[in-house]
């Protein structure tokens, strides 16, 4: 295997383990520990993509999160992962990646024609062009933009990988394991603080891995290895690599994504692919370092132009040369460090320094090594299309305005250094208003907003000595505040080379007669000319310029482009940068996969599933289930080839004719206890409760303070100070909160306790003319006669040795009972009922039959009590006490609620007695009236009446009480139906309620 650009004696990759992978279908080799970027560069591959707008060739610009170009599509186990940064993704055996945003291939890209049409792609191009007519959006503009733009391609298949969430609490979270992160973590951990140290890269150490320094008589890399090993061994420390803290939220909650398996060929058993950490930290130290700034010159986006720090890291960490004839273009000493590294590895670089006569230790060292340096020189333009082949360089005047002696120099890469930009994203997200620091031409965090401090180069400290001292101090100070311990570790001595001041110059002027594109934002193809145009067109606010030109947007979030953009705006506007201000940094700092955000709450796990104790019996007996809130309830029990309609009709008919049993476990149940329970219920319900005797149930309606019906149900007085309240399945949680609100905040003087008992009781509703006969057999020792257990009566009884509670209440309108036993006995009860009920032709019935039964009886439920109706509308006004006050009563006298033509519930029957009326249909007088047709009301629930064998619906319509007998129309524009109907009483079956009392 020959890798032309791999160095033999340097780097941290594992040379003993070769790994093969494919890029755009071609096979390459790398070593364990390589990223896609380092492995491709080792193989001499620099062309990896096309740019967003102009489809210009794209190479590698950075070496980590700052990479704006090399965004690839990854395939692993037939799963697609779009938008992978080649500089972050480690290679593994069998990895397949390909370029995005180019068609048909990265070498021949049709979209590159945009590059020649660039006069048509100025700033705001999309706004200006794709505006009118609106109808063009859907068919022409959008598909065009999608095809021409767009990065990766998301998979449309279900993602089978597992993602996890984790919650963690700590004293101190440290974001980044460079010198400041390591030193502060060490100081704090030694002082007893619970520390989490997060590192985005696979290797710990940050800049220590690449800089030529000495800490406590060790090299930077050795020292970081020693510290991290010790930290890992401490029980009060969590150290995580491949983990990016990407968001800083309220009350010191930070979110971190840990890439556990992304670097492996396959996710290991029992491990997730990624894990999202929600970390609540008492204190945060932001040690996220800084990112080198580009210098701006003609064609500075050509593959082969990259950050000088990246070139150095490719050499020192990966043992890879980014070029063999490098040009270093710098305005500060950092470029020299890269040049020296090249030289040490047998490559002769040429340094172009914008400064006139700088002098420092580093510059002297470069000179002594015989490196060629041209001061007051700049790169005017890179030459070469798919890769840098040469550069036009020039001497620049002292005032940095004029170029002279332009000449062409052969080179195969241009390493640029425009000084450093602190990564203040996290500090900014926490609410910290940054301030502009003239000395480093960049923003640094100001006063702490939350419990955060920024240290090291993220705070504009660019010498190691300052950084180490500050970090040790801060680590101690912060931990001391939390633990009150005083264990101070000694600070090691630091040896580093002194550097001198940087040049504020960063943007090379165009030579006369040339119109090179000079890019600011490499990810979004924003050039100097675009910003100039935006300002000419009147955009002033930096936030507007950002949106108009797309500067600093998308996944990159302006990591390399932000400051140069601001500099340019301030230069043109003759302002200083602080006046221009910077745009808001928002989470996430780097892209986070949707899978990680969602975690394990996918599919049926997106909410809990509640099952009754009789669930298995229902399953075994062919129940078809329906979601009722989070509950699963049998909708119907299928026999043979029955449809839903046929089955529910059979079940409902059997209730009317014989007897049926329905699982009503899901009903909300609340125990109300205390000497003031009666008084409390009297205030909560609209009807009177003070005189309900022990052993009796009562139907009640409760309102919200605005007079709207909140819920209904029966409540039974079990003993003097103990009531058993039932609520609808859907409102159970709301009702409990409502009761707690009044007991705790409004009437704390009432001595009452409420607690949910929904889970404690299994319930079976036994309904139909045979129900008493069945009950007599189930409870032979209990008097369940009409006199012994009258309508709305309650009894405790013995069900084959099991204590049971019998409530004589009815939702179906038939003679009916609800039997409750403790949940664990639910299935026993159910099986006994079915077994004993056989001789009475018992059949289980589901929610569909239950609905049919209640609708034709005119009993209201959720579809009528829909958050818009008052008791009158649901014909519940008889339950509203005139004598006493209760929650919401005062609202009922509002004029809108007392109007004479107020909406009221009615029954609706189609004139042809065969056409079912869709729920949600409007009731109108004239179906041919001009639209919008004035509607009288809507159909709330529909069924097939088993009593009369024709369709029947409930509707809530204006002046309902005077509409009985009228011939109107039900219209469903959705189903395109107009049905002539007659309005009848909502109590279609047994209006006098004789059956329930039989």
């Amino acid at each position: 295997m020959s890798q032309d650009f791999r160095l033999d004696n340097i780097g941290m990759v594992n040379r003993n383990k070769k790994i093969s992978f494919t890029f755009n279908g071609k096979k390459y080799f790398g070593y364990e520990g390589d990223t896609i970027a380092s492995a491709l560069i080792a193989n001499g591959v620099h062309l990896v993509g096309r740019s967003f707008k102009y489809h210009r060739p794209r190479g590698f610009f950075g070496v980590g999160v700052d990479e704006p170009y090399a965004i690839l599509q990854l395939e692993r186990n037939n799963e697609r992962d779009p938008n992978i940064r080649a500089t972050e993704q480690e290679i593994f055996e069998g990895l397949e990646v390909k370029s995005v945003n180019c068609w048909p291939s990265v070498n021949f890209d049709i979209g590159a024609i945009n590059n020649f049409l660039k006069m048509f792609f100025p700033a705001g191009f999309y706004y200006k062009t794709f505006m009118w007519p609106p109808s063009f959006w859907y068919k022409i503009y959008e598909p065009f933009i999608r095809m021409a733009a767009g990065f990766g391609e998301a998979s449309i298949k279900h993602d089978k990988e597992r993602y996890e969430h984790k919650y963690e609490y700590c004293d101190l979270l440290i974001t980044g394991s460079g010198p400041s992160g390591l030193a502060s973590a060490y100081a704090a951990a030694k002082n007893g603080a619970r520390v989490i140290l997060a590192e985005d890269k696979p290797r710990y150490g940050g800049s220590l891995l690449t800089s030529d320094v000495n800490i406590g008589n060790q090299t930077g890399a050795e020292w970081s290895e020693k510290i991290i090993t010790e930290l890992k061994s401490m029980s009060n420390v969590i150290v995580k690599n491949r983990s990016q803290v990407f968001g800083y939220y309220d009350h010191n909650m930070l979110v971190m994504s840990e890439r556990i398996s992304d670097h492996l060929p396959k996710t290991q058993k029992y491990l997730p692919k990624q894990r999202l950490w929600y970390i609540r930290a008492k204190e945060v130290l932001i040690s996220s370092g800084s990112i080198e700034r580009p210098l701006v010159f003609g064609n500075n986006d050509t593959p082969g132009v990259m950050l000088s720090s990246a070139a150095k890291e490719y050499m020192k960490v990966y043992g890879v040369l980014v070029g063999k004839k490098p040009l270093i273009f710098t305005n500060n000493d950092s470029g020299y460090e890269t040049a020296i590294e090249f030289k040490k590895n047998g490559v002769n670089p040429l340094i172009l320094d914008t400064r006139k006569e700088p002098s420092s230790d580093i510059i002297s060292e470069a000179k002594n090594l015989g490196i060629e340096i041209k001061f007051s020189h700049v790169v005017v333009a890179a030459k070469g299309y798919k890769k840098v082949k040469s550069a036009d360089i020039a001497k620049i005047s002292d005032n940095k305005k004029d170029l002279s002696n332009i000449e062409n120099i052969k080179c195969d890469c241009i390493c640029v250094s425009g000084f450093w930009t602190p990564s203040i994203h996290l500090a900014s997200q926490s609410g910290n208003k940054s301030e502009f620091n003239e000395k480093i031409d960049a923003f640094i965090p100001k006063k702490s907003k939350q419990k955060e401090n920024t240290i090291g180069s993220a705070n504009g400290k660019f010498t190691l000595e300052e950084t180490i001292n500050e970090a040790f101090d801060k680590g101690y100070e912060v931990s001391n505040k939390i633990t009150e311990n005083n264990n101070k570790v000694s600070i090691p001595t630091v040896v580093e080379k002194k550097s001198t001041e940087h040049d504020k110059f960063w943007c090379v002027p165009l030579p006369k007669g040339k119109s090179y594109k000079r890019f600011l934002d490499f990810q979004n193809d924003v050039a100097v000319s675009d910003i100039e145009l935006a300002l000419r067109e009147g955009f002033r606010s930096i936030e507007h310029v950002k949106r108009y030109t797309t500067l600093g947007m998308a996944t990159d979030q302006g990591k390399t482009s932000n400051l140069n953009g601001l500099q340019l705006v301030s230069d043109i506007e003759n302002k200083v940068v602080p006046q221009v201000g910077h745009t808001t940094f928002r989470p996430p700092y780097t892209p986070v996969s949707i899978g990680a955000i969602v975690g394990r709450e996918v599919g049926k796990h997106s909410k809990p599933t509640r099952k009754s104790p009789m669930h298995e019996w229902h399953e075994k007996n062919n129940a078809v289930f329906v979601d009722a809130g989070v509950w699963l309830r049998p909708r119907y029990y299928k026999q043979g080839n029955e449809t839903l309609f046929e089955a529910s009709k059979r079940e409902a008919k059997n209730v009317r004719k014989n007897v049926g049993v329905c699982d009503v476990t899901t009903l909300g149940k609340i125990d109300v206890k205390g000497p003031d329970a009666a008084e409390f219920l009297n205030r909560v319900y609209t009807n009177a409760w003070l005189k309900l005797p022990v052993g009796k149930a009562r139907y009640g309606v409760m309102l919200r303070e605005d007079g709207i019906v909140m819920d209904d149900g029966t409540t039974t007085r079990i003993s003097e100070n103990h009531y058993h309240m039932t609520t609808t399945t859907a409102q159970a949680a709301n009702v409990l909160s409502h009761l707690e609100y009044y007991l705790q905040l409004v009437w704390p003087e009432l001595n009452v306790n409420v607690v949910s008992t929904t889970e404690q009781w299994a319930g079976a509703a036994i309904a139909g003319p045979n129900s008493r006969a069945l009950l007599m057999k189930l409870f032979p020792n209990t008097d369940v006669s009409n006199e012994g257990l009258p309508f709305m009566g309650y009894k405790e009884a013995d069900l084959f040795g099991i204590p049971a509670k019998i409530y004589r209440i009815s939702f179906s309108g038939e003679l009916a009972y609800e039997v409750n036993v403790e949940s664990d006995y639910g299935n026993f009860m159910w099986e006994k009922i079915i077994e004993v009920g056989k001789e009475f032709q018992i059949q289980p019935y589901g929610t569909e039959a239950l609905s049919t039964l209640r609708i034709e009886m005119g009993h209201v439920a959720g579809s009528e009590l829909d958050g818009r109706t008052i008791p009158h509308d649901a014909s519940l006004e008889g339950l509203v006490s005139k004598k006493k006050d209760f929650i919401g009563k005062r609202s009922l006298s509002r004029s809108a609620f007392t109007k004479s033509d107020r909406e009221k519930i009615v029954g609706v029957v189609p004139l042809d007695k065969t056409t079912s009326i869709p729920e949600g249909s409007y009731i109108v007088k004239d179906p041919k009236a001009k639209l919008p047709n004035p509607k009288l009301g809507h159909v709330s629930a529909s069924c097939w009446s088993v009593e009369y064998d024709n369709p029947f619906s409930l509707a809530i319509i204006k002046d309902g009480k005077n509409m009985i007998g009228q011939k109107l129309f039900a219209m469903s524009p959705l189903k395109n139906k107009t049905i002539p109907v007659e309005i009848v009483s909502s109590h279609y079956v047994d209006p006098e309620g004789k059956r329930v009392r039989a």
């Binding site: 309220d250 609100y741 905040l745």
Partner: protein, 89 residues
Amino acid sequence: MLYIFCPHCGSRSQNEFAYGGDATVKRPELNKEISDQEWNNFVYLRKSPRGKHLELWHHISGCRQWIKVERDTSTHEIFKTYKADELTE
């Protein structure tokens, strides 16, 4: 996500709580004659202050107690929390 100190349970994440609105609203006494306007103010009208605000939170996934929280609506800073029956400053 806020971190709320429940006077009964200690500091807990916001996702254990439900928001309950303005804690300074006082329900008119039962059986008291009041004008439409007064009732209307009680049911519907709420201030939406910028800055300090006393509000109700219900620790639904914890102790199920309603508590009062003094919070800055613009910065989310929580100054103090109170039990339901505790007097606020």
